[in-house]
């Protein structure tokens, strides 16, 4: 019974951290994109950087989601 409770608590905490990280990541992406497009000198570089940032972040969130679901 105790082990089930601990597992449920761990899952809940993991999900809260997961969604919290998503919110932080999105806010960070918005701030970075604003700086790149407002103050950057080359729109292509800014767009490429944003693409790499979002794709890389997306892959890491996918790995995090799979890791949490496998706990």
């Amino acid at each position: 019974m105790d082990s089930i409770d601990i597992k449920e608590i761990t899952q809940s905490v993991s999900e809260v951290i997961f969604y919290g990280l998503i919110v932080i990541f999105i806010l960070h992406a918005i701030m970075l994109a604003y700086h790149w497009f407002a103050y950057g000198e080359n729109k292509k570089i800014s767009t490429l950087a944003l693409g790499i940032y979002l794709i890389g972040g997306g892959i890491l969130f996918l790995i995090l989601g799979i890791s949490i679901s496998s706990i």
Binding site: L21, H28, M31, Y39, Y53
Partner: protein, 176 residues
């Protein structure tokens, strides 16, 4: 260009643009890579020690990878913050001014400039083995008046930059 802060006069042209040397950025990226790999290294190392002493069979692999993925996301965000600082730090020489745009964080940004006719002296200094081999160092510009002197660290090709600044100032002074 789609810069917000760089507003040139009608007859003003950009002559030279420089960022910090790639080595400065490289060192920060290397640090981030070390920080990213360190938990994995410690996990394997500590896991091996515990297995050797029959203390565990590493039952917490799922927990570790969940935590490690979260750690990598934070590292990923840090990496792009560092790149943003590098990318937005830029020094621009125009036919009339020298402009320094310094990004000190996401919410800390300064833009300084001085007109070339106020230029008094340009001092370059390269200190250390790595800066000597890779040709980067400190640029110091002394200007007339009460304005504070201008100093920039980690700029590459200082001799070339100095000659371009002096050339531009010379041309401006002869045209006045």
């Amino acid at each position: 260009m789609h810069t917000q802060l760089l507003q040139l006069d009608i007859d003003e042209e950009i002559l030279f643009r420089v960022r910090k040397h790639w080595f400065i950025f490289g060192v920060e990226v290397f640090s981030i890579i070390v920080v990213a790999i360190l938990p994995l290294f410690l996990y394997v190392l500590i896991g091996n020690i515990l297995i050797e002493h029959n203390l565990t069979t590493i039952p917490y692999t799922g927990y570790f990878f969940a935590l490690y993925s979260g750690w990598l996301i934070i590292v990923w965000m840090s990496l792009f913050s560092i790149w943003t600082n590098y990318y937005l730090d830029v020094w621009i020489l125009t036919t009339k001014r020298f402009i320094a745009r310094d990004q000190k964080g996401l919410f800390n940004r300064t833009t300084a400039s001085f007109r070339l006719e106020r230029l008094q002296d340009v001092i370059i200094s390269i200190n250390g083995i790595i800066p000597t081999f890779l040709n980067f160092g400190t640029l110091e510009i002394q200007t007339a008046g009460e304005e504070s002197n201008f100093k920039a660290y980690g700029l590459p090709n200082l001799e070339l930059l100095k000659s371009k600044i002096l050339d531009a100032a010379g041309k401006l002074n002869t045209s006045i």
